[in-house]
Symmetry: C2
C-alpha cells in the first residue's frame, strides 16, 4: 500500500513540536549527542527527547530508553544508529505516532547491494506504515525560524542569519558544518540535505517551499532526479511564483558515474536535464560558488523590468571585463540617455559611456565619494537602465566605512536591482565591507563574474515567460 500523503509532509519535518534523537550519546563525538547539543545551541523551540537505553541524562535533558517511553508530542525522529537497527526504529516511530523520520545513518544504497536491500526494506516499511523518510545518508534539516538543526557534526558557530533563502542539496558539503554561514551572513530560511533521497525528494520540498512564507528564493543542488515528471510539475508551479535556482552536478557521464557511488542514485546527465530548464522558469547555476552567492541577489533585490545593465566603475579594465560577462550572460549594455550623460558631465565625469569610468575624475575630485554616489544615482535612474553594477574599490580605515555610507544614502531611492563587486588591498577589510553591504540588502561580491551573473539570473527570471506568473519575487504565493 502506498500511502504518500500530502504536501504537508515536509511541514512536519520542519516544524515538529518535539524531536526524538536516537543514536550514540557517548562523549565526546557521539552523533546523537552532537545533534542534541547543536539543537540546544541553536535554541530549538520545541522539545528534545534523546533516546538511548544505556543512559539517563544528557546535557541536562532526560534520556528515555525507548521511543515508546518518550513523553509529549514528538513529530520528528532523527535516527543515527547502525544501518541494521533502522528498520526496527522506523517501526517504533510508526507505533509512537511519529510520521516524519530522518535517517542520518550511512551504509545504505551508496554502499552496494546489501545496503540497497536495507534501503528498500525501510522504504517499504515506511510506506506501509504511513510515514515519510528523509535520507538515508543525510545530515538532515535546518529551520532558522524555530532553531531546528539535525546536523550530527560539531562545528564552531551557533547561529545562522534568518532570511529568505532556502538551500537544498544532495551532499553534506552544502550543510551547516561545512560552510561559513555565520561569517558570510547568508539570510536563510530552511536547509535540507536529501542524502540518498529514498522517499522524500526535491518535488516534495518544492511543494512545501512554494507555500512557505519565510522562503523567497529556492536553491537546489541535485545529482539525481528522483522522478522527472514530478520534478517538472513542481518546478513549473513553484518557479512561477519564486525563483528556483538549480546547480546540477554529475552533468558529464564521468560525473554521473561518480555520483552513483556516493548517493546510490543514478545521476541524470546534463542533456536530460537541459530540457527542464527550457520547460520551466528554473535558473541554472554553474558552480558551488554560484550556489551560495547568486541567490542573495534574487532575495534582496526587486525584479528588473528588462535586461539592460548600467555600470559604474573606477577602473576601465574591470568595466571591459564586466561588459564581456554581461553580454555572455544574456544582459544588454545600453547607451545611457543624453540627459544622464549631461548630468555626469556636469558632475565632472569624463568617461560617461556605459560603463561609466569614474577613475580619472576621482583622482582630481575634491570629494570622490560624493562623485561616486551621484554617478551611481544618475546611472540607476536612467530610463535605459534596468539593473546596475558598481565596481567598488575598498580602501582602508575611514574610506572603507565611508563607502558603506554611500550605499546607506543611496539605498532608499533605488528601485532597481543592484550588485557590487568590491576589491581592495586587504582581504579582511574587503570581506567586512561585503558583509556589511550584504547586511544592508546591497548584494556584494568578491569576484566580478558572480556579481554580473547574479544580475543576469534576476533578469532571466524576470523575463521568462510563465503563464500568468507574477513578475515580482513574492514572499508567499498563497
Amino acid at each position: 500500500m502506498d500511502v504518500r500523503t500530502s504536501d504537508a509532509d515536509f511541514a512536519t519535518f520542519f516544524d515538529p513540536r518535539g524531536v526524538a534523537v536516537v543514536g550514540s550519546m557517548r562523549e565526546p563525538g557521539g552523533e546523537a549527542l552532537t545533534v542534541v547539543r547543536n539543537m540546544l545551541q541553536f535554541g530549538f523551540r520545541g522539545s528534545i527527547c534523546p533516546i538511548n537505553p544505556s543512559q539517563s541524562e544528557l546535557l541536562g535533558l532526560r534520556v528515555y530508553p525507548a521511543l515508546s517511553e518518550a513523553p509529549g508530542s514528538i513529530d520528528l525522529a532523527m535516527l543515527i544508529t547502525p544501518p541494521r537497527a533502522v528498520a526496527g526504529l522506523v517501526e517504533q516511530c510508526a507505533q509512537r505516532g511519529i510520521r516524519a523520520v530522518i535517517v542520518g545513518t550511512e551504509g545504505f544504497a551508496e554502499r552496494g547491494e546489501d545496503g540497497a536491500n536495507l534501503q528498500r526494506e525501510i522504504v517499504g516499511l515506511a510506506r506501509s506504515r504511513g510515514l515519510r523518510l528523509l535520507g538515508p545518508n543525510t545530515v538532515g534539516l535546518v529551520n532558522t525560524s524555530n532553531g531546528l538543526i539535525t546536523v550530527p557534526y560539531t562545528f564552531d558557530y551557533n547561529q545562522i542569519r534568518k532570511g529568505g533563502l532556502a538551500f537544498a542539496s544532495q551532499t553534506g558539503f552544502a550543510a551547516a558544518q561545512g560552510q561559513p554561514l555565520e561569517d558570510r551572513g547568508y539570510p536563510i530560511s530552511k536547509m535540507c540535505d536529501f542524502g540518498n533521497k529514498c522517499d522524500l525528494n526535491e518535488a516534495d520540498l518544492l511543494e512545501y517551499l512554494r507555500h512557505d512564507s519565510e522562503t523567497r528564493v529556492i536553491t537546489l543542488h541535485m545529482e539525481s532526479v528522483a522522478e522527472g515528471p514530478g520534478l517538472r510539475r513542481a518546478l513549473q508551479a513553484t518557479a512561477a511564483s519564486k525563483p528556483v535556482l538549480i546547480f546540477k552536478t554529475g552533468r558529464t557521464v564521468e560525473g554521473a558515474r561518480a555520483s552513483s557511488s556516493h548517493t546510490g542514485s543514478l545521476a541524470t546527465t546534463g542533456r536530460a536535464f537541459d530540457a527542464l530548464f527550457k520547460q520551466t522558469r528554473a535558473i541554472r547555476l554553474d558552480s558551488w560558488h554560484e550556489y551560495w552567492e547568486v541567490p542573495k541577489l534574487l532575495a534582496s533585490q526587486p525584479l528588473p523590468k528588462g535586461n539592460r545593465i548600467g555600470m559604474v566603475t573606477v577602473t576601465g579594465g574591470v568595466g571591459v571585463a564586466a561588459v564581456d560577462v554581461a553580454v555572455g550572460s544574456g544582459l544588454a549594455v545600453p547607451r545611457l540617455s543624453t540627459r544622464s550623460m549631461d548630468r555626469l558631465t556636469s558632475l565632472g565625469v569624463h568617461f560617461n559611456g556605459n560603463p561609466v569610468d569614474l577613475g580619472p575624475s576621482m583622482v582630481v575630485s575634491q570629494d570622490p565619494l560624493k562623485l561616486t554616489e551621484n554617478a551611481i544615482a544618475v546611472v540607476l535612474a536612467d530610463p535605459n537602465v534596468d539593473l546596475g553594477l558598481v565596481v567598488l574599490p575598498v580602501g582602508v580605515d575611514r574610506w572603507a566605512s565611508a563607502t558603506i555610507g554611500v550605499f546607506q544614502r543611496l539605498k532608499p531611492a533605488i528601485d532597481k536591482p543592484l550588485a557590487v563587486f568590491a576589491y581592495g588591498t586587504r582581504v579582511s577589510v574587503t570581506e567586512e565591507v561585503v558583509r556589511q553591504l550584504d547586511g544592508m540588502d546591497v548584494p556584494a561580491y568578491l569576484d566580478l563574474d558572480t556579481a554580473v551573473k547574479a544580475l543576469a539570473a534576476a533578469a532571466a527570471y524576470a523575463r521568462t515567460p510563465s503563464g500568468g506568473a507574477s513578475r515580482r519575487v513574492s514572499g508567499s504565493a498563497r
Copy 2:
C-alpha cells in the same frame, strides 16, 4: 626614423641604476611624491632623483630643479606631469641620456582627438631620439628583485613576495594599489601596466621575460593587440619555454567598444584572438579571478606527463562537481589501478573509485588525518594518475594546523602537480590555511573550479605540441 632597438629595452626599465621621478610633490597626495615614497618603502636598491623646480628636499632626498641637473647614473624616468608638459620632458630625457621613460600621465589617446595628437607627438619624438616609452596612462612597473615600484598611489603594504610570476595588464586594477598582493602572497617577479601601449607592447615584454631568469610563468591581461604578427612570434618563442597565460577582455563587440574608451586603443574581439591560442602554446584564462589564481600552480608544480586527474575528497558532492569541471576543462578521470584500490581498501577506505571519497571512512577512523595523508599518497603514486586534486575540509584550531602537517610530510615524495580546494566554517581560518599551503608551494584554492582549471592549464601546457620545446617549466630559457 624608427630606431626601435633591441630586446634589452625592457631590461633598462626593470633594472635602472637610478630613477628620476618628475611631477607633483605637494603633500599629501602629490603623485611624484607618492612614487618616491613607495620606492623608499619597497626598498629600491638604485638611486632616486625627485625632479621639481619648486622644491629642494623630499622625504630626506635632495630634489633637483631639472633633469639636466640631476647627478649620477639615471636610466629611467617616471613622468607624472600634466599631458602638455610630457613632450618637453621626453626631450630633456633624451638630452640627459635617459632611454627609458614611463609616462604615467593620463589624458592622451584615451581622452579623444586632442589627446591622441599629443600621444602621436611624444611617440614620434621618442622614436626620433632613440628612447622607449611605457604608457601613457599607466602606473608602470614593479620588480621584486630590486624594489622598483613606480605606482603613484598610496596603499597599505610595502612588500610583495618574491617569486616566479610575471603579471602584465592594460589596467591599473591589476596593479599593486588595487590588489591584496601581500595578503595573498602571490610569488611575483615583475609587474607591468601597459596603459595606452603607445610604444612598448606585450611582444617586447615577452621577449624580455623569455630571458628573465626570475620569471617562470607569464600572465598577460590584454584588451588591444598592438601588432598581431609580432605578438604571435613572441608568443611562439616565449611559450615554448615558459607558460604564458592570457586573459583577453573586450572579447565581445560591446566589450571592445568599452575598451577603446579607456585605453584609446582598438580592442581585438574574441574571434580574431582565438587563432592566437591555436597557433601558439599560450593558455587562455577566463576571468580576473583566474588571472590571479591559476599562475601560482604552474609556477610551483612540475609539469604533468598527461591529463589524468586523481582526486581525493571527503565529500562526494564536491567530488562529482570536480569531475564535471575536470572533464569540461579537458582532463580525463581514470580508473585507479587495482593495486591502488587494494591499498585504499586496506587503509579502510570504502569508496575507492576516483574521486576517492574518504568521508564515510574518516568518520569511523581512529586517525582521520593519517588516513587522508595515506590516501593522497596512494592516489598520487598511481601510474594511471598524472595530477592530483585534494578536497580539504579545514577545521578549526588544532585540526587546521594539523592539515598543514599532512602536506608538509607528503610534499617531498610527490612529483606530480597537486592542487588543494580548501573549505570550512571560518573564512579567516580557511584563508590562513590556503596562505600557508601556497607558501609551501602546494597551490591551494578557495573555490573548487579554479583549483581544477589550474590543473587543467598545466596539463594543456604540457601537452601542447611545440617543436622541440621542453615539457618542463624552466626557470630560464637562456
